[in-house]
């Protein structure tokens, strides 16, 4: 790989890390009632997919907006702490995959909860900007803060749907 390509890859990885951090920041701002949906649209593709085992699934921006409305109607506080990233830019610099570990304190129906899991995301490059086009969240722990986690790691107290 020539020097310029190596630098491009480092810039791409940095831009994707920034895009993911901005995405969860704005997601949390929406939940914490400090933002609008417009700011998240700037970071996603029109056909964005957001899916998780216990928070719901959305295909496309319209469904994603609906999911966010349901989410923030019950979740009044959220901070998604990201760590342990692994970003791989695909050949041609048109797409990329990114994994993160997430730890998230949240308030559901006025009760404090802890979620820990992993994001497995994909990104595409549009007009020189990296956008998220698929978020897949796998929850490992979903437990009331007060009682903590034990088997089963996803508490039966968690609702079937948001």
């Amino acid at each position: 790989m020539v020097l310029e390509d190596r630098i491009c890859e480092l810039e791409d990885i940095d831009a994707i890390l920034q895009a993911k951090a901005r995405f969860v920041e704005r997601f949390d701002e929406i939940v914490n009632a400090r933002s609008t949906f417009v700011s998240l649209d700037e970071l996603t593709t029109e056909d964005v997919v957001w899916e998780s085992g216990h928070f719901g699934v959305a295909r496309g921006r319209h469904q994603f907006h609906e999911l966010l409305e349901r989410y923030r109607s019950r979740v009044k506080f959220s901070l998604q702490f990201l760590a342990g990233h692994d970003v791989q830019v695909q050949g041609g610099r048109e797409s990329a995959l990114g994994d993160w570990t997430v730890w998230q304190p949240l308030t559901l129906d006025r009760q404090p909860w802890i979620m820990a899991g992993r994001f497995h995301d994909s990104f595409v490059r549009c007009d020189e900007q990296w956008r998220i086009n698929h978020v897949r969240l796998t929850e490992a722990v979903l437990a009331p803060w007060d009682t903590g986690w034990h088997e089963p790691l996803v508490s039966p107290e968690w609702p079937d749907t948001l």
Binding site: L3, E4, I7, L10, E11, D14, Q18, A21, R22, V24, E25, N32, F77, L79, Q80, F81, L82, A83, P105, T147, G148
Partner: protein, 165 residues
């Protein structure tokens, strides 16, 4: 046209800023809040802690000295770094989490931070820092909502309750 040299320089600056943030967390933890942490700030710093504001190094020193934690460990994550065109300053946003011991009780805090960082001769320092406190309080509360001190019968009882004993 940005040269390869300039692009590498900006990547290096972003990397250095990230490392400086992590080093700042360690310096906050040492002591905790030993006054060496002032070395991470510019000559004329400003801090909005979320509950009060502090201007200048003397007031910042008084703020650090007033913090009651006997132990603390900080985690800074989710860094969003916006370097200015010259690379001499940056606007940074991040998340912060801390686990602390205060007056014998385990406590936790979660924050979002926004600050201006200045590059002075290759070293990043903080100039203007605004913090929003989202979560701050005891890890465990008793039935009256009060913090449960570590190593007390109440804590042992609580652990027993948690384990189903």
């Amino acid at each position: 046209m940005t040269t390869l040299e300039e692009r590498v320089r900006r990547l290096e600056k972003r990397g250095a800023l990230t490392r400086a943030m992590y080093a700042h967390a360690v310096r906050c933890d040492d002591g905790p809040y030993g006054l060496e942490v002032l070395d991470d700030w510019t000559a004329d710093p400003f801090l909005d802690s979320g509950s009060a504001t502090f201007s200048g190094r003397e007031n910042l020193a008084r703020f650090y000295e007033s913090l009651p934690a006997s132990f603390v460990i900080h985690y800074f994550t989710n860094l969003v770094v916006e370097l200015d065109q010259s690379g001499a300053s940056a606007t940074v946003r991040c998340y912060g989490f801390e686990a602390a011991t205060i007056r014998g009780c385990p406590e936790v805090g979660a924050f979002t931070d926004r600050f201006i960082a200045m590059d002075s001769a290759g070293r990043w320092t903080w100039h203007h820092w605004e913090q929003v406190v989202h979560l701050d309080g005891p890890l465990h509360r008793n039935d009256q909502g009060h913090a449960v001190p570590k190593g007390t019968p109440q804590e042992a009882q609580r652990r027993g309750n948690d384990s189903g004993a």
